[in-house]
């Protein structure tokens, strides 16, 4: 017997769980302003997330999927993307979407049950939050196919959870992306839980990243609580994609510090000791510690940031609560470009 192929999966980390620098900083991170920007974005994300849960709990919004503990994954993605790239997000991905130009108001509007929340004003080509698991990966390959057909130097990022990596659509997307060498980056937010199904019950694979091998592309595992590594990893994958070097699968290892959604109660199945341990490794505290060690951050700056984030979020909430309701007829008006006659009749009978 001979070995005809061998593969390896690399792990990327810049800051370890104690915020110690491991190896060299990537070049972007040598610019302190970039690091501070990443930190501010994560704090804004968490402030927004806390408020969104509160809005649901007080009956002012519908079910909401929290992103607590996973801010580095999505903030890192958004930070690495260019405006001309396209984001195909899943339902927990606010950190990237907000940097793309979607607003907090619109994300609240979406979870508040108003379709206009997905009519992003700035990132017109980005997809809306995707709920049916893993279906978005195929949309990303389609967008990437269009980019390749038009010989454009841009790329697509699609996100999903590790549960999504069990779906057929995920494998189908990897397969075609690898075969056609499409300009797409798949990011799996491995937050250890698919609602109540733990990572170790999801797949017999040692890593999610190695699923890339079957698709014919590189797979890399990154510390998803390390926003520096996360941002660097996505940036490199995007650059490869934009320059014709094909797709990448990134597995970002993190921990869901929240319930699956506001309709879930994770205390029914998440072991408390695991959760306590995960809190010790969470991304915001980690970068904050590093910034403080480097004398780039202090309590005054922190207080000012918190205040500023709270003001921004409060404004978004106020804007959300003051949105004019949609006309009832809106349910008909976007079904087709031209409303068929039978639907015109139903529209006429609806309670408008």
């Amino acid at each position: 017997m001979t070995i005809i192929a061998e593969f390896s999966i690399e792990y990327l980390q810049c800051l370890d769980k104690n915020a110690n620098l491991v190896g060299d900083l990537p070049s972007f991170a040598k610019d302190n302003a970039q690091l501070i920007n990443l930190y501010e974005l994560m704090v804004l994300n968490r402030t927004f997330d806390t408020k969104a849960i509160n809005l649901q709990r007080t009956g002012k919004m519908g079910t909401y999927a929290s992103t607590l503990g996973q801010e580095a994954v999505f903030v890192g993605i958004g930070h690495a993307m260019k405006k001309t790239d396209v984001l195909v997000p899943y339902y927990r991905d606010y950190g990237a979407l907000l940097q793309r130009g979607a607003t907090m108001k619109q994300i609240l509007q979406y979870w508040g049950g108003d379709e206009r929340g997905s009519d992003y004003e700035e990132c017109r080509e980005d997809f809306p939050l995707c709920v049916p698991i893993a279906t978005q990966f195929l949309h990303a390959t389609g967008v990437a196919t269009a980019m390749k057909y038009r010989k454009q130097k841009r790329a697509v990022v699609a996100t999903g959870g590790e549960g999504a990596s069990s779906e057929g659509d995920f494998y189908e997307a990897l397969n075609v992306a690898g075969q056609w060498q499409l300009p797409v980056v798949f990011v799996i937010n491995n937050n250890q839980w698919a609602i109540s199904v733990a990572r170790q019950s999801q797949t017999g694979c040692q890593t999610i990243a190695q699923k890339a091998i079957a698709g014919g592309m590189p797979g890399i595992q990154v510390d998803g609580n390390d926003v520096i590594a996360m941002r660097d990893c996505v940036n490199q994958a995007l650059q490869a994609a934009r320059t014709g070097k094909g797709p990448t699968l990134i597995e970002a290892v993190t921990y869901r510090l929240c319930d699956h959604t506001t309709a879930d109660d994770a205390s029914r199945y998440v072991p408390k000791e695991d959760l306590d341990k995960a809190w010790q490794e969470e991304p915001i505290k980690r970068l904050q510690t590093y910034l403080e060690t480097e004398k780039l951050w202090d309590k005054n700056k922190e207080d000012a940031l918190i205040k500023q984030c709270q003001q921004q979020v409060s404004q978004a909430v106020e804007d959300y609560l003051n949105i004019e309701p949609q006309a009832v007829s809106a349910m008909f008006d976007y079904m087709y470009e031209t409303l068929p006659k039978s639907l015109q009749q139903q529209r006429g009978l609806a309670d408008l």
């Binding site: 080509e125 997809f127 195929l138 389609g142 980019m147 057929g168």
Partner: protein, 326 residues
Amino acid sequence: MAEITLVEAVTQALAYEMQRDENVILLGEDIGLNGGVFRATDGLYKKFGADRVMDTPLAESMLAGLAIGMAAQGLKPVVEFQFMGFIYPAVDQLVNHAARMRNRTRGRLTCPMVARAPFGGGIHAPEHHSESTEAMFAHIPGLKVIIPSSPARAYGLLLAAMRDPDPVIFLEPKRIYRIVKQNVPDDGKALPLEQCFVLREGSDITLISWGASMHETLQAATQLEQQGVSAEVIDVASIKPLDMDTILNSVAKTGRAVIIHEAARSNGVGAEITSVINESGLLSLLAPVQRVTGYDTVMPYMKLEKHYIPSVEKIVNSAISTLEFA
């Protein structure tokens, strides 16, 4: 001008539109050099190249998902599903995304794609190759479902489907892919999508059908004529949205209707048409609307399929019993 078959009319429409619009891209399994298992894309790979006639890996959900992404970027993907029996892995994508993209983004992203699939029985195909499940898609808000029944309508309706700004399921009755030939000028003229076609005018009864069963329905109308019955024959063609005006006008004239479809009987499109006739045309009815359909059975394999597919005899008998009702 040479006469062409229905499948050749499909090829002609695809070629015309690809020539006219470089955003039109074909996707499917075996559609490239092989020209598709029914040869619907014959010659297009050589003419337009691999970038526009894309042989894909074998995965149907992928086909639909790719098309949705491409369509969101302003391309016009035309997907060939090799047989309707293999479209089901793509249902999630078609129902959850293609049909909803315009609505859920309030028009920001749209899904101008066409999903073509040969469907129906009668060609002695293996298991899973002969079903008629158009009603499944016709039930889904946001989709359009189109079924041609002649070379000319295949050409004109497929052009219209490709030019439509919304997703269209275009089902091709493979039993009649090659049994009728017509002169079909390659003039690029599309037919309207939300419209029935009156194939034959009559005054005593309305026969309503679509797809391959149009063939038997027209034969039944000829036999009825020999018995002194004047049958009006309607090709529904647009299963969704339905053109009920044409059907109701016909029933108002004849007072009697028989609906013929190869698909299983329960919850079929015939039930919807009957229901609208009852809602809006009851007082013009002289007899209950009858249906001649496939059975609520699994589509039989080839040895029994002829007993499943509505026959000329069953259509004639149904029409006679409708005419004899009081």
